[in-house]
């Protein structure tokens, strides 16, 4: 019996102690007509060895394409200690630290993580994780509505340069509470939000403005101007940021004159593998004045009965297990293990290592854009500074090219036809520190061949 330790003798003795004849008698309060005698549609058991073989075959079939896709999930080097440590049973098989005295490890890691996120974003406080970047943005919008008491409109400006999947998630999660998410157009030359486009909302009741930095196209927004607009027009500012970029770029806590109100994003680039889409790790930081509106767990430093320092969950009265229907969110379980991986990753890289990673991202992307834009029929869609992604415009539809590249073992980027038809045949590409000059050449040669072959045909 996999994972069940009971011997025949155990079962007999235990049933005797309970005073029933058979295990089935323990289910006698369940109406007989509801009980089933066997499960259908579920395969029979396999030994670990056979499941391992099946899993290995499937994983191998998925191959290891040379990856040039970003769009919210980024391939970075993960130091070997990260998962060696995060996979320790004391971390991975523990749960939410309800018994603080037996969970000081988890709690101190939460506190260190909160400190690192607060430091990176230059905000006062951070929670101990949300599910992912997309749902963190949704929570940030809900939090802004709670925090901005004078605003009654629940209207939030959400530029079209924000990750489209994140915008969909924000819509799905905030819809029930009646939020209105208003789109903002982008400047066609620079691929970023024109701060002047907000002026038509001046003098209206706007609860918050979302600013993604770098934006979905990889371009840098004029975050200072957008933050100032929010402040001048009585709206809160919400930053959605790539945390690696923060090693180089001005942190949201310093945007405009005195920073944003809430910063969120996905800490996946810190030690979390791509893994087909998750689990990742949403982060959220804010000004101290909004901390009671924050969703999610928070660890605090305090002292024990002998005055020694220790850690415990705090501000729990915000949360569902106490506040129930009036909680800041329904979130309970979050992304503790990924939060741990991110903390270890950041401890290993430190400020110098993280800055190297960010610089390498910028440099590799610059090389990638140069190599691809040299090909006939390919050009960079936008001018202006960017981080580690770029939009290319091609002279023909992108989807068939990506398919052919896929057959050559290259994941060539994301086709933007669905989300941005106005950009024509547009392709979003990404290069991090993990792409070498050789990788970039491989991609450029393959794309050149495909474009040449199609042109010749």
């Amino acid at each position: 019996m996999p994972y069940i330790p009971h011997t025949g003798e155990d079962i007999r003795a235990m049933l005797d102690r309970i005073g029933v004849r058979a295990i089935d008698d323990l289910f006698d309060e369940i109406p007989r007509e509801l009980r089933i005698d066997a499960l259908t549609g579920v395969p029979e058991a396999l030994p670990e060895m056979e499941v391992a073989r099946l899993a290995a075959a499937r994983a191998a079939a998925d191959g290891r394409p040379l990856n040039f896709i970003g769009a919210g999930a980024y391939e970075h080097h993960i130091p070997a200690p990260v998962w060696a440590l995060a996979s320790r049973g004391e971390i991975y098989s523990a749960y939410t630290p309800y018994q603080a005295e037996a969970s000081q490890g988890t709690l101190q890691i939460m506190y260190e993580y909160q400190s690192m996120i607060a430091g990176l974003t230059a905000m006062d406080v951070s929670n101990a994780s949300l599910y992912d970047g997309a749902s963190a943005l949704a929570e940030a919008c809900l939090m802004a509505v709670r925090a901005h008491r004078r605003s009654k409109s629940a209207r939030i400006l959400l530029p079209a340069t924000v990750n489209p999947a994140w915008r969909r998630v924000a819509r799905a999660i905030t819809e029930g509470q009646g939020l209105t998410l208003e789109s903002l157009p982008f400047d066609a030359a620079q691929g970023r939000t024109d701060p002047k486009s907000l002026d038509r909302f001046a003098a209206q009741d706007i609860t918050a403005v979302v600013i993604q930095q770098p934006n979905f196209f990889g371009q840098l927004e004029d975050a200072d101007a957008l933050t100032r607009w929010a402040r001048a027009n009585g709206a809160l500012a919400i930053a959605a940021v790539n945390p690696v970029a923060l090693a180089l770029l001005a942190p949201p806590g310093e945007w405009g004159d005195d920073g944003v109100d809430i910063a969120c994003g996905d800490a996946q680039p810190f030690g979390v593998p791509l893994s087909s889409g998750g689990p990742y790790v949403g982060f959220m930081a804010s000004r101290m004045e909004h901390v009671r509106q924050m969703p999610g767990r928070i660890a605090g430093r305090t002292v024990d009965a002998e005055g020694k320092p220790g850690f415990t969950l705090t501000l729990q009265a915000r949360e569902q297990h106490i506040r129930r229907g009036k909680a800041t969110s329904n979130i309970c379980t979050n992304q503790g293990l990924l939060m741990t991986a991110a903390t270890i990753h950041l401890a290993l890289l430190g400020p110098a290592g993280l800055e190297r990673v960010a610089r390498a991202c910028v440099a590799r992307t610059r090389q990638l854009v140069a190599a691809l834009a040299r090909l006939p029929g390919v050009r960079a869609a936008f001018s202006g500074p960017r981080f580690h992604e770029a939009v290319l415009q091609l002279d023909r539809p992108v989807a068939p090219l990506l398919e052919s590249l896929g057959a050559e073992g290259i994941a060539g980027g994301l086709d933007l036809a669905r989300d941005y038809p106005e950009l024509g045949n547009a392709l979003l590409v990404c290069a991090t520190e993990t792409r070498t000059e050789g990788d970039i050449e491989t991609y450029a040669r393959a794309l050149g061949r495909l474009l040449g072959r199609a042109a010749a045909a």
């Binding site: 009671r292 729990q316 009265a317 106490i322 009036k326």
Partner: protein, 129 residues
């Protein structure tokens, strides 16, 4: 076992009311309520000028294990919130009927929830067990 001063009026939701010399009403939570909540760690008071209807949730008291709304027993306009509680929420535990007052209200005259006298509130607590 809790203290229930005879000169105040009470609500079933554990607020107390004191009429001040100028006719305004001072409101707080009872000794019983602060004991049930435990050590308070946060109190949010309404801003002066806020208009309230009877029964509006207008303040929040929070301990490490519970959080509870405070309801205005009467309609009216808030004349003051107890600003001291922002940094010293423990005043509600230490002196619930004095320094731990939560807000003051100029009643608008419209009738509020049925108010109890000290005996009535005591009977209410006894009935709740």
């Amino acid at each position: 076992m809790s203290m229930i001063p005879a000169d105040l009026r009470y609500t079933k939701s554990h607020e107390w009311l004191r009429t001040l010399p100028d006719g305004s009403i001072e409101i707080g939570i009872t000794d019983h309520a602060q004991q049930a909540l435990g050590d308070l760690v946060f109190v949010e008071v309404p801003e002066a000028g806020r208009k309230l209807a009877a029964g509006n949730a207008c303040a929040l008291v929070e301990s490490v294990k519970a959080a509870s709304d405070v309801y205005s027993p009467l309609g009216g306009e808030v004349t003051a919130g107890n600003e001291l509680l922002a940094t010293q929420p423990e005043l509600v535990n230490r002196d619930p009927y004095g320094q731990g007052w939560i807000f003051r209200l100029k009643p608008s005259g419209s009738g509020g929830a049925a108010l109890l006298d000290a005996d009535g509130y005591r009977a209410e607590l006894a009935a709740a067990g």
